[in-house]
């Protein structure tokens, strides 16, 4: 019996994607939505790493992609921290449905 094949990782990635999506769509707190986004991003990263291993083990571009992906996540998170504080200080809430003055 060989180890888990590519498809196993991919299905796991899809599950994580779905879980992240679920979080994005249902959570009321902005921070929670941001966490959901991070899960989706990690699903993507897991997927690409799996592809690296099973499709192009000698092309380390995928690993660079992962690195950049993590950087993107980190930068988002950093900016997100600032934005959450900004929003929270001004409005005393971080629930996304409190922000609906700009509409129509």
């Amino acid at each position: 019996m060989s180890g888990p094949p590519l498809q196993a990782y991919l299905v796991l990635g899809a599950l994580l994607f779905g879980a992240g999506l679920w979080a994005i769509l249902t959570q009321r707190g902005a921070v929670m939505v941001l966490m959901g986004i991070e899960i989706v991003m990690n699903a993507a990263l897991l997927t690409i790493v799996a592809f690296w291993r099973f499709v192009t083990p000698d092309d380390f571009g995928a690993q660079v992609f992962y690195l950049i992906g993590v950087t993107i996540g980190a930068a988002e998170m950093a900016a997100g921290l600032g934005i959450m504080l900004f929003v929270y200080r001004r409005r005393r809430t971080q629930q996304i449905d409190a922000f609906r003055q700009l509409r129509h």
Partner: protein, 241 residues
């Protein structure tokens, strides 16, 4: 008795994968943001384990460093700076009020929760205020489930150009070389990205002298109608109590 390495690999995969997914789902169920942050960290950690299993040791390490440590810390930082609307208090309340349902979705948004222009019973208003989830659960559920299943089906088919070869070089060397040659722009760009993220965070997150003076109400009152444009004759559109 020899342990089939494949079986071990499957077991490890199942364990780590199960943890990561369970943690991810659990994150959305808990009422406390703090616990959600912890769940996220666990999910990331499990993923790091999977990276090691895939032979991407470098990435596993980075995952632990960046995602688990860095990112999750930031989230926890965020959570700590704000009032946690869920947490123990809500948990207790939900238990006392015998609310059915799972975790955070016990306190779902009542149907038509955010609709304007109607008076609500105070209890209903409270339900709206306390709701942990948006009113979109009924859409989100089919969307997430369907897309997960179909996506899983799509990727699970044997369509990928897989190879049996294994990585022949040490990742650290190659990645380092790539980052300084082919992906030098990406390297510099990543720096730029981080800097701009930090600048944005600092600029926005800084406490200003007028912060609390101009603080606005958490939920905009239904009476201050922020909508500017109205077609002629629609002034009596809403709020007719």
């Amino acid at each position: 008795m020899t342990v089939d390495p494949g079986l071990v690999a499957w077991l490890v995969f199942g364990l780590l994968g199960g943890i990561s997914v369970a943690a991810a789902v659990g994150m959305t169920i808990t009422m406390s943001m703090y616990r959600a942050g912890l769940a996220l960290m666990i999910s990331f950690l499990a993923l790091a384990g999977l990276f090691f299993q895939l032979g991407a040791d470098l990435l596993g390490l980075i995952q632990v460093m960046m995602n688990v440590a860095g990112m999750s810390l930031m989230i926890l930082f965020m959570v700590m700076l704000m009032m946690d609307p869920g947490g123990e208090m809500m948990w207790d309340m939900a238990r006392q009020m015998h609310m059915p349902g799972i975790g955070a979705y016990k306190m779902g948004m009542p149907p038509g929760g955010l609709t304007e222009g109607e008076t609500r019973e105070p209890e209903a208003q409270m339900m709206v205020d306390m709701a942990m989830s948006t009113g979109q659960v009924r859409f989100a559920l089919p969307i997430s489930v369907v897309s997960t299943i179909v996506l899983g089906f799509i990727v699970a088919r044997p369509i990928w150009p897989t190879t049996l070869s294994v990585p022949s070089r040490e990742a650290v060397d190659v990645v380092g070389e790539l980052l300084l040659s082919k992906y030098m722009i990406a390297f510099e760009g990543a720096a730029l990205l981080i800097v701009s993220g930090i600048v944005a965070a600092v600029m926005l997150g800084r406490r200003e002298s007028d912060d609390h003076e101009s603080a606005q109400p958490a939920i905009p009152s239904v009476l201050d109608d922020p909508v500017g444009p109205e077609p002629p004759g629609t002034q009596h559109r809403a709020h007719t109590s």
